[in-house]
């Protein structure tokens, strides 16, 4: 199976062709919003981090920023910093250069002489980059070039009965075709980590699966909190999910049935053609999706029992529900109805249909989240600001 994508100079293949206006910190985020509004073909996001963070938190921010710039859906990046933040321009540029050799420009607001001059400079860089990007022609590539990130949010019992099962089938197909599938959301392995660990390809991967779960629980206990405080959420419970274990047992279906080949830390670069891998991310959807996109996922498949509009600035997000009521109620937001699986549908047929949709979306078909303009995202953190 093949899709039409964009070859990047670092060898990766993108399914979109956007220019990223990257805010190095919260203090550059309004500026990048204004810049992006002036340049059709560019994207940006609201970076709430980038300064006054403890070391490990700053690293999470740096990894998301570098990973976003390196994501193959991005043609090139204009980094905009304020100038005095902890995520200094040279650090951001170095982190990006470690992941990719794509076009890169820099604007520092304090050095440019304030808002208007910085915007002027950045808009001109971005317009030039979009013009270059628009000359690129799509080529045919095998789906082994795709990294698909899997996510579930606003779960209900149908997620574990249908939508996540269908995503698991897609995951198996991706692996069978030589591609990559990422299973995320460490908090939603809790109570099911032993099942996942049994599928580890090596004893090291097995230990890592237990480690990331226990590390997550311990991190919350350091501030006197338990992971169960927010899980299952009120919406999960209203839908019929009772305990975190029940939610987790449904959640891990997204990983299908193939061995877990590797465990990646949050937002680290995933090696293409790796089979099924795990990434250590929160259950919080926008920050989990952001980490997988930073890891290089070109497409996200997202299940939701309750329904959600969520998208991402860089990767198309395909939304799937197993709840026939939600599908009818939120049809403007949900791309795929997986509920036939509960009522006698064939998993193989539905899986093949989903694979076909993934290939179409990779080739340019807009998802509902894209057509509605959804770009919300978040960056994970473990500590308060200093």
């Amino acid at each position: 199976m093949e899709f039409y994508g964009y070859r990047r100079p670092d060898g990766r293949v993108g399914v979109r062709n956007k220019v990223l206006i990257l805010p190095a910190s919260v203090c550059a985020s309004d500026t990048t919003r204004i810049i992006s509004q002036q340049v059709v073909g560019s994207v940006t996001f609201n970076n709430q981090q980038g300064c006054s963070q403890v070391g490990p938190d700053q690293q999470l921010t740096m990894d998301v920023m570098a990973g976003y710039a390196a994501n193959p859906n991005i043609y090139g990046t204009v980094v905009v910093s304020l100038g005095c933040e902890n995520c200094q321009m040279d650090l951001v540029v170095k982190a990006i250069a470690e992941r990719t050799n794509k076009p890169l420009q820099q604007v520092i607001i304090q050095e440019a002489g304030g808002t208007l001059k910085a915007i002027d400079k950045a808009v001109r860089f971005a317009k030039e980059m979009v013009a270059e990007a628009s000359l690129l022609q799509k080529e045919k590539f095998p789906i082994s070039e795709l990294i698909v990130g899997t996510e579930c949010g606003g779960s209900d019992p149908t997620s574990g009965l249908a939508a996540n099962v269908l995503i698991g089938q897609l995951s198996d197909l991706m692996v069978e075709n030589g591609g990559t599938s990422i299973l995320s959301e460490t908090t939603e392995f809790i109570g099911a980590e032993h099942i996942l660990a049994r599928r580890a390809a090596t004893p090291e991967v097995r230990d890592r699966i237990f480690d990331i779960v226990h590390r997550y629980e311990k991190a919350l206990q350091l501030v006197g909190e338990e992971v169960r405080e927010g899980n299952p959420s009120p919406g999960n419970k209203a839908g019929g999910l009772t305990t975190l274990e029940e939610k987790s047992l449904g959640c891990i279906h997204k990983g299908g049935h193939t061995p877990v080949m590797e465990v990646y830390d949050y937002a680290k670069q995933v090696t293409p053609k790796s089979g099924l891998v795990v990434m250590d991310t929160p259950g919080n959807d926008p920050s989990s999706v952001a980490a997988m996109v930073a890891g290089g996922a070109q497409v996200i498949v997202f299940s939701s029992g309750r329904g959600t509009p969520t998208g991402n600035p860089i990767a198309p997000v395909i939304k799937i529900t197993g709840n026939r009521i939600t599908y009818a109620n939120m049809i403007d937001n949900i791309d795929v109805d997986a509920s036939p699986l509960i009522y006698g549908g064939d998993l193989k047929d539905l899986g093949d249909e989903l694979m076909k949709l993934v290939v179409e979306v990779a080739s340019g078909k807009q998802t509902k989240a894209e057509s509605l303009g959804y770009t919300e995202m978040a960056i994970a953190r473990v500590c308060n600001y200093v």
Partner: protein, 93 residues
């Protein structure tokens, strides 16, 4: 008509796949044949009900795995949710 389902033969709860009213017959597929019981309460679609009596302290089983512990005696046909299930962290290594 089937209006509920179990996922694993070890499960002691079924999931309603249609709205179920108190007194309705609940039918689900188990090991290739239909099993039935009577709903003792209204069950919202996609919520769980006990398919056999679960004594206080016994594990509640779905997906063939423990999802929690019965916080009180639960009768077959009763709604199973937060009000009668406690959760506890198992050592799973």
């Amino acid at each position: 008509m089937r209006n509920a389902m179990i996922i694993d033969g070890k499960d002691n709860v079924a999931v309603a796949i249609e709205p179920i009213a108190k007194g309705d017959t609940v039918t689900y597929l188990c090991g290739g044949k239909d099993e039935s019981l009577t709903a003792l309460q209204d069950i919202t679609i996609y919520h769980k009900l006990a398919i056999r009596d679960i004594a206080k302290g016994e594990p509640v089983v779905k997906y063939g795995e423990h999802i929690g512990v019965a916080a009180c005696d639960i009768k077959a046909g009763e709604h199973v949710h937060e009000h009668n299930v406690g959760n506890h962290r198992e050592e799973l290594k």
